[in-house]
């Protein structure tokens, strides 16, 4: 009898009129992946940037206007990651529903843990620095959950009738992320405190989560190729500190990292910062599975 009542209630809750899926455009494939986790089949998600593309330098192609003009929600990484290409796209899309400040615009940096906030005054002598903090925050499962929560809240606001569905999917995602994170933590546990070098400052959140120590960068001034003197110092300090791996994003040339690796005996590991960075890395979990196992392999 009680069970029937539960079922009846479930039916009532589920019989909400099926609307058209919410049209979501994200700037990066990682946001798209998490949006799909939360939105399921009630949202249609497209990413502007591909996973194998440097998200700082996406070309503002007019074809993106086709995606943007019909978007109901535009989700961005923020922290000036997209500053070089997104503003003209929003402007030319003629879609006033996704302009900053509207419900159709979601800057996910507002609700996640941000690292590397400059404490002193910054200027461009430091290169094209991320002046508001590190925008590569999605590379940490805790922040992935925070991104998912923000998606749920916004989806629920735009499609109130579907709120239970989004919440259920969010909770499911949390459980899966939690389980997966246990697995990744375990895989990297033996290398806690390991010193690593990364090409760009993309892995701060990742390193903090898994207890890795990023001691230096191949390209310390973003957008400015490393100077010979920096590379010389890098080689020296890597030798002294016995750094075993250099992590490089797939869109950077491997020449410089390879030559540093040769001089130091370290290994170059291509780490994918985004979903879709290589064939098979179709979602956030596969991305982390691959990166974690490659890193564990390299540190062994």
């Amino acid at each position: 009898m009680k069970r029937t009542l539960v079922l009846a209630l479930a039916l009532v809750a589920g019989s909400v009129a099926q609307a058209e899926p919410l049209n979501v455009v994200t700037t990066t494939s990682d946001l798209a992946s998490i949006a799909r986790e939360v939105g399921g089949d009630r949202v249609a998600v497209e990413s502007i940037a591909r996973g194998y593309q440097d998200p700082h330098f996406v070309e503002a192609k007019p074809s993106f206007l086709l995606q943007l003009r019909k978007a109901e929600l535009l989700a961005v990484v923020g922290l000036e990651l997209e500053i070089g290409w997104l503003p003209p796209l929003i402007e030319q899309s003629r879609n006033s529903e996704v302009r900053p400040g509207t419900d159709g615009y979601l800057d996910l940096s507002a609700g996640v843990e941000i690292l590397d906030r400059p404490s002193a005054k910054v200027d461009r002598s430091m290169g094209d620095i991320h002046a508001s903090g590190n925008p590569h925050y999605w590379l940490e499962p805790g922040n992935a959950v925070r991104i998912a929560i923000q998606f749920r809240d916004r989806f629920a606001k735009l499609r109130p009738a579907e709120a239970p569905y989004f919440t259920a999917r969010l909770n499911e995602f949390k459980v899966r992320a939690n389980d997966a994170n246990k697995r990744w933590t375990e895989a990297l546990a033996p290398y806690k405190g390991a010193k690593i070098v990364t090409y760009h400052r993309s892995w701060s959140n990742f390193a903090r989560r898994y207890g890795l120590d990023v001691v230096d960068f191949v390209e310390p001034k973003p957008g400015v190729p490393p100077s010979p003197s920096h590379l010389f110092e890098l080689v020296q300090s890597m030798k002294e500190q016995k750094v075993k791996v250099i992590l490089v994003e797939p869109y950077f040339d491997l020449k410089t990292p390879n030559s540093v690796a040769q001089k130091t005996g370290a290994k170059v590991i291509v780490m994918y910062p985004s979903v879709g960075g290589a064939p098979g890395l179709d979602d956030y979990f596969k991305l982390f599975d691959r990166n974690v196992s490659a890193l564990a392999e390299g540190l062994r």
Partner: protein
């Protein structure tokens, strides 16, 4: 209070009171129903303050009931704990990312309300950028006298949202000789039907080259055709511009119609105040592959000739092909572009024809090589044709500066020949502008 009881806000509480025992029953345990109910009621009071989240929360519980079969009973508390709004969890979050020897559970993770960054306090100031442009010049019997080195036209740009409906942009050009508003307009960005409109002084949307600013060029100078037909400042005037996006299958079509006051130095000069100049452009863009695309356009402009008062008409076509491999975008790119413009004048002997074709190849992260051929008939005597060839090499130390060398050979139709070398230094400070496309 009693009144509130009947308000919609308390409906969730009613639902909750109904649902909680059901959930408990579905779990097969009713031992702590009372305490659970009490806790949830307290919680609900807290939640009530955040009216935005409350509905989703209740819905969550509702869906848990619906999906009770698939959610292990043990997880119920965990999921509850993972729901937002429990402030005590914030401290827990700080601990979560710390090197985790413990379980590193994500259960308590909640969004962090980041304080707005310092940049936000400047939100009401326009974005300001200045681009300096110094050109040194050597060689040639250029009919126009040029300084050996000069701060050529540099640009101050100011940009800000006016209100939710419009943006304002100002581009002020300054050189050794003068300071002038190159462009200054309001752009309406919230119009229906894929429309966009601009009112103010602006560059006409004629062809590919005319609407651009010098810092997006891959050369130090304008092609002969643009300099000769439209003058130093290009085709720019005060007026109104309306454009519409028209998706057409794989193509993106943009149609633009513009009307201007009618006065462009040396090009158009209104005899009466009703002698406006008009400009129209139709452009089609399409991605060929993920890495390449093509952009074709046709433009038409008509206005009144200075002195004679007759009409002068410009008709142009342009083609651009672009290649940029996505996964190596910061190292390699290629752009080929051609533009042909014909000028017909009332009472003129013949049509004057001008063109340019250029190719630019980025062969390393900071290096670009380019070539351009251009030519133009002089509008007052189309039998005289000036022709030019240029080679360019550009080095970009960073996104914000460049050094460019250009070798330019010009055969002037009246017998002069000029071999020149131009060296350009360009640097930008201030707001991070969009990368040129």
């Amino acid at each position: 209070m009693l009144k509130a009881l009947f308000s919609e806000r308390l409906m969730p509480l009613v639902i909750l009171v109904v649902l909680v025992p059901l959930v408990a029953f579905a779990q097969g345990s009713d031992a702590d129903v009372a305490s659970r109910l009490e806790a949830l009621t307290l919680r609900l009071e807290a939640l009530d303050r955040e009216s935005g989240a409350i509905r989703a929360e209740i819905d969550a519980l509702r869906s848990l009931v619906a999906g009770a079969a698939s959610v292990p009973a043990d997880d119920l508390t965990q999921i509850e704990g993972a729901l937002p709004a429990a402030t005590e969890d914030l401290t827990k979050i700080d601990a979560v990312p710390a090197p985790a020897a413990s379980d590193g559970s994500l259960a308590g993770v909640d969004v962090i309300e980041n304080a707005p960054s310092a940049a936000v306090s400047k939100i009401f100031n326009p974005d300001i950028a200045i681009i300096g442009n110094v050109v040194a010049h050597a060689g040639g019997d250029n009919p126009e006298e040029r300084d050996a080195i000069a701060l050529q036209e540099s640009e101050l740009s100011l940009e800000a949202a006016v209100d939710p409906y419009a943006k304002a942009k100002f581009f002020i050009g300054y050189s050794d000789e003068e300071v002038a508003v190159e462009e200054g307009y309001i752009q309406f960005v919230a119009l229906p039907w894929d429309l966009s409109a601009k009112v103010g002084k602006m560059k006409a949307s004629f062809g590919k080259f005319n609407p651009t600013h010098f810092h997006t060029w891959s050369t130090t100078d304008a092609p002969l055709v643009n300099a000769t037909f439209f003058g130093e400042e290009g085709l720019a005037d005060s007026g109104v511009s309306v454009s519409k996006l028209i998706p057409a299958g794989a193509f993106l079509v943009e149609a633009t119609a513009e009307a201007f006051r009618g006065s462009v130095e040396g090009v158009f000069e209104p005899g009466r105040s009703s002698d406006l100049f008009y400009d129209a452009r139709l452009r089609a863009y399409r991605d060929l592959t993920e890495n390449s695309n093509i952009d074709v356009g046709a433009s038409f402009a008509t206005g009144t000739l200075p002195e004679t008062g007759g009409s002068s008409r410009f008709t142009g076509i342009d083609v651009s092909y672009r290649w940029k491999p996505l996964s190596r975008a910061i190292y390699r790119s290629f752009l080929a572009r051609g533009e042909l413009i014909v000028n017909d004048r009332d009472g003129g002997p013949d049509s004057a024809v001008g063109y340019y074709a250029s190719a630019d190849y980025q062969f390393a992260r900071r290096w670009l090589a380019g070539a351009r051929i251009d030519g133009v008939d002089r509008p007052d005597d189309p039998s005289i044709t000036d022709r030019g060839q240029s080679l360019m090499l550009t080095f970009r130390p960073s996104e914000f500066s460049l050094i460019r060398g250009q070798y330019r050979r010009t055969d002037y139709g009246d017998g002069f020949e000029a071999d020149e070398f131009l060296l350009q230094f360009q640097f930008g400070i201030g707001a991070h502008g969009a990368h040129p496309f």
